[in-house]
């Protein structure tokens, strides 16, 4: 359904000079530097997937989103989405997609949210009989009943983001691009937004592509991640796979009856130790988790044990290091 093949994009940026002489020179002649924002990116996404598109700042995430949403024309490569080439059939194509830019609003600041929705209905030429059930459903699932009649400027950030997402779904798009949908939100709002993204994905079969810096978003939503760095595709696969590859370590926290003698267990590294508690990091390639627990129970009188996988943030940092981004 979404198919990118060999997409490349480079920018020319004029070098800025300081100083009077340089400035005078710049009037006639300019130095340019070329930046390869994207280098030969290829991937396919099927209908109904939720894909997390991640990478450090300046990696080329938003360039890719811009190309996929028809804003930018790439230098080379082909991109077919729903049978359209986004930048060629722009007006036809964009009827099928919804885009949320997390940091910018598409709602009109001084009028009630409902008025913005009505105007978007007209912009997308949604017939009234289709609009009514859609908007009712959106208001219900996003819990907007109490806020749609107040002006946007009076809403909290979380309320506004829910309205933004609703606004991008008024025309029943088949694909939803979310550019940092949870940026700046508090924990409760984040959970509400994630929940809703899941719901529309399940119930309406909307394909979701989201970029984010919050790995919890990815963990909660995406079965598949695409990692990009310095314009190149680094990893494309499911999250578990990524964990297995890079997240071979686990963290064990053990509480036990008082024991004043420090101890070592094979295949682990001690992260912290007190007479009542130890935190160990296990390399699961060297030793099994169950083995470590057995050894622990031999050495001390265990009261409580918790096992955590390595947080995904760490994996990403590790990945970035590995690829030297």
């Amino acid at each position: 359904m979404i198919h990118l093949e060999g997409i490349s994009k480079s920018y020319r940026i004029a070098k800025r000079q300081t100083g009077l002489r340089q400035a005078a020179k710049a009037l006639f002649y300019r130095d340019y530097t070329t930046i390869n924002a994207l280098k030969d990116i290829s991937f396919s996404i099927n209908q109904g997937e939720i894909v997390g598109y991640i990478g450090p700042n300046g990696a080329g995430k938003s360039t890719t989103i811009k190309i996929m949403s028809g804003i930018l024309v790439p230098d080379t490569g082909t991109c077919t989405i729903l049978g359209y080439t986004p930048w060629k059939d722009r007006t036809e194509y964009v009827k099928n997609i919804g885009v949320v830019f997390g940091q910018r609003s598409q709602l009109w600041w001084d009028v009630p949210v409902m008025d913005s929705f009505e105007l978007l209905k007209d912009i997308y030429k949604v017939p009234q009989q289709e609009y009514k059930p859609t908007i009712d459903l959106l208001i219900e699932t996003l819990d907007l009943q109490t806020i749609v009649h107040s002006p946007v400027r009076q809403l909290s950030l979380g309320q506004r983001m829910r309205c933004e997402i609703a606004a991008s779904l008024i025309h029943n798009p088949k694909i939803l691009f979310l550019d940092e949908p949870t940026i700046g939100l508090d924990a409760v709002s984040k959970i509400a937004v994630r929940q809703f993204i899941k719901t529309i994905n399940k119930e309406k079969g909307v394909t979701v592509i989201l970029t984010t810096h919050d790995m919890n978003d990815i963990e909660a939503l995406a079965d598949r991640v695409i990692l990009i760095g310095k314009g190149s595709l680094l990893y494309d696969g499911n999250l578990e796979e990524l964990r297995k590859h890079f997240g071979t370590s686990k963290i064990i926290t053990a509480d036990y009856a008082k024991n004043t003698v420090p101890f070592q267990i094979f295949g682990t590294a001690t992260l912290s130790w007190t007479p009542e508690r130890v935190v160990l990091s296990i390399d699961t390639e060297k030793v099994k988790t169950s083995e470590v627990i057995t050894q622990l129970s031999n050495k001390v009188e265990l009261l409580d044990v918790t096992i955590e996988s390595q947080p995904i943030e760490d994996i990403i940092v590790q990945l970035y290091k590995e690829y030297q981004i």
């Binding site: 920018y11 020319r12 360039t63 811009k66 949403s69 028809g70 804003i71 930018l72 024309v73 930048w87 722009r90 007006t91 036809e92 964009v94 009827k95 997609i97 885009v99 830019f101 910018r104 598409q106 009109w108 600041w109 001084d110 009028v111 008025d115 913005s116 009505e118 105007l119 007209d122 912009i123 997308y124 030429k125 002006p151």
Partner: protein, 260 residues
């Protein structure tokens, strides 16, 4: 077109949230050109005429260009304020919507406070007309309306050119005010009072001459030569917007290939 009115409506609703500020600004818009008009009046008091044009003839000129200017500032403000949209990246939003960028930019901003300026120039218009002995006919009335319309098109065209320039650089945009504010100031007087090259430039390149000078001669019965041509010049002047539209389209294409 219906979408444009929907935009108009929503902006009107927003504006009405700030009523006091709206009235204050409107009053301001009334008084700024008022002082300019007062200056014009005093000059005529001293000199009596300008190259054979009488006060009320020039007042008519003044009224028409100021009406066209205030209307275009009200309804085509989106293009005038476009640099802000590009800098903030808001323009991307327009590209992911299934409508022409033209309508969306036009609908992105309205400046209703220009009603003050419009009212001021309307008063001048009525005053000037009631003091001029013009043999009115239906065609002359139509010509008068066409003059204002043509002015709106030309101002809008200039805004579009400046907006298209934003795709390359947002610096130095002030130059555009030579043609908007400067054009307005200049076209307050009949074009033939200026040097030949100025008059030519503002007839054939940026056709402000077709807004008032040429058709005004016809209305005042001063036209020598073909009256029909004088009457139709506002229509020709309106065509100015087409090349501007093409430049705009070109700018959008450039933006989409560079994403600057």
């Amino acid at each position: 077109m219906s979408l444009y009115f929907k935009y108009l409506l929503i902006h009107f609703k927003s504006q009405m949230q700030y009523r006091t500020s709206f009235w204050l600004l409107s009053i301001g818009q009334f008084f700024i050109p008022f002082s300019i008009f007062a200056g014009l009046y005093f000059l005529f008091e001293r000199f009596g005429q300008i190259k054979g044009w009488q006060f009320f003839e020039v007042a008519l000129c003044f009224a028409i260009i100021h009406m066209a200017f205030s209307l275009s500032e009200c309804f085509a403000r989106g293009f005038d304020m476009f640099s802000g949209l590009v800098v903030k990246g808001e323009f991307d939003r327009f590209l992911v919507r299934p409508r022409s960028t033209f309508v969306q930019v036009l609908g992105s901003k309205f400046e209703f406070t220009r009603v003050g300026r419009l009212l001021q120039s309307l008063i001048v218009l009525v005053w000037a007309l009631s003091n001029l002995s013009i043999e009115w006919s239906a065609i002359k009335a139509i010509t008068l309306v066409l003059m204002i319309v043509s002015g709106v098109f030309i101002f809008t065209g200039i805004y579009m050119l400046a907006a298209a320039m934003c795709f390359w650089t947002v610096q130095g945009l002030e130059v555009a005010s030579i043609f908007t504010d400067g054009g307005r100031e200049m076209a307050q007087y009949p074009l033939n009072i200026y040097q030949k090259w100025v008059a030519r430039f503002f007839t054939y390149v940026i056709p402000f001459g077709t807004v008032n000078y040429l058709p005004l001669q016809y209305i005042l019965g001063k036209a020598n030569g073909n009256e029909l041509i004088h009457m139709l010049t506002p229509v020709l002047g309106s065509l100015f917007i087409f090349p501007c539209f093409l430049v705009w389209q070109f700018g959008v294409r450039h933006y989409r290939s560079t994403g600057s």
